[in-house]
């Protein structure tokens, strides 16, 4: 049986709350299930999503929870490629190069490791950051999943 090319799309709006970080991971895991990813691939994407969502909560919205803070997740699968976009309408990033520096954090008092973007860049194949102060932030991430190998048929 030939594997069918998988094409799929979803868009979801989630309240920006720390308890929803795990929910975002569950959502992306469920969406990726049909691709039959390896455990490593799945973990890579879950972690990237976790980092990105957390950034929106802590930095984008500065931990505000008035009921008006949301994170939008848009995901598209085309064959074995995932294109994932996470957007917030929070405060935006002033210096994008600075935030991409490993271990840079604007919240040292919170025991943040400053590794969020480094992790996303390592775990995903591509990362684009679109942001400006006062206009929110959109992260676009791409990951290519390994092809499914057909199980070897045992000889008789």
């Amino acid at each position: 049986m030939n594997p069918e090319p998988a094409n799929n799309f979803m868009e979801i709006k989630i309240a920006s709350k720390s308890e929803n970080v795990s929910f975002a991971r569950v959502v992306i895991s469920a969406f990726l299930a049909k691709l039959d990813p390896t455990l490593d691939e799945l973990n890579d994407v879950k972690t990237a999503v976790s980092e990105a969502f957390t950034n929106a909560v802590i930095h984008g919205y500065d931990d505000a929870d008035t009921g008006n803070e949301f994170v939008w997740i848009k995901a598209e699968i085309s064959d074995r490629t995932l294109r994932l976009q996470m957007r917030d309408e929070g405060m935006g990033i002033d210096d994008i190069n600075q935030v991409r520096e490993p271990m840079y954090t604007s919240k040292p008092g919170l025991e943040r490791s400053g590794m969020g973007f480094t992790i996303i860049e390592n775990f995903m194949d591509e990362l684009t950051i679109d942001s400006s102060v006062g206009s929110g932030t959109t992260l676009t991430m791409v990951k290519h999943f390994a092809p499914i190998t057909q199980p070897a048929t045992l000889g008789t």
């Binding site: 879950k46 802590i58 590794m115």
Partner: protein, 117 residues
């Protein structure tokens, strides 16, 4: 709760087994629980057993780093044991692999510390 801690003392060591997920949401609780335990009686060694840690992101790195600083400041040692592959990958990426003592399992971690003290 998506995270649970199993805490016990073994001689001068404080052993904390973390079960579940360590992300921004669960980190706050974990941090508090460990700090509370550390303040009761300063251990010579804090052993973090991560065998049952299903998920960790950089918030977990922050908790580990924070506890490393706290324990080091009072002359103690932080050791990790039983890392799963994804957790090890994260620790390696952060450079924490170089500064932390990491063991295969809890027994070897405790043994190594007893030998040291």
């Amino acid at each position: 709760m998506k995270v649970a801690l199993d805490i016990h003392r073994a001689n001068t060591a404080l052993v904390v087994r973390v079960e579940g997920e360590l992300d921004h949401h669960t980190s706050a609780n974990v941090r508090e629980m460990i700090d509370e335990e550390l303040s009761k009686e300063r251990p010579e060694v804090l052993v973090l057993n991560l065998a049952k840690l299903n998920f960790m992101d950089s918030s977990g790195l922050g908790v580990i780093l924070g506890r490393y600083k706290a324990v080091s400041e009072s002359g103690g040692q932080l050791v990790l044991c039983s890392l799963t592959k994804p957790v090890a990958k994260l620790l390696e990426m952060s450079g924490l692999f170089k500064i932390l003592h990491i063991y295969e399992d809890e027994l070897s971690a405790l043994r190594a510390c007893e030998v040291a003290s």
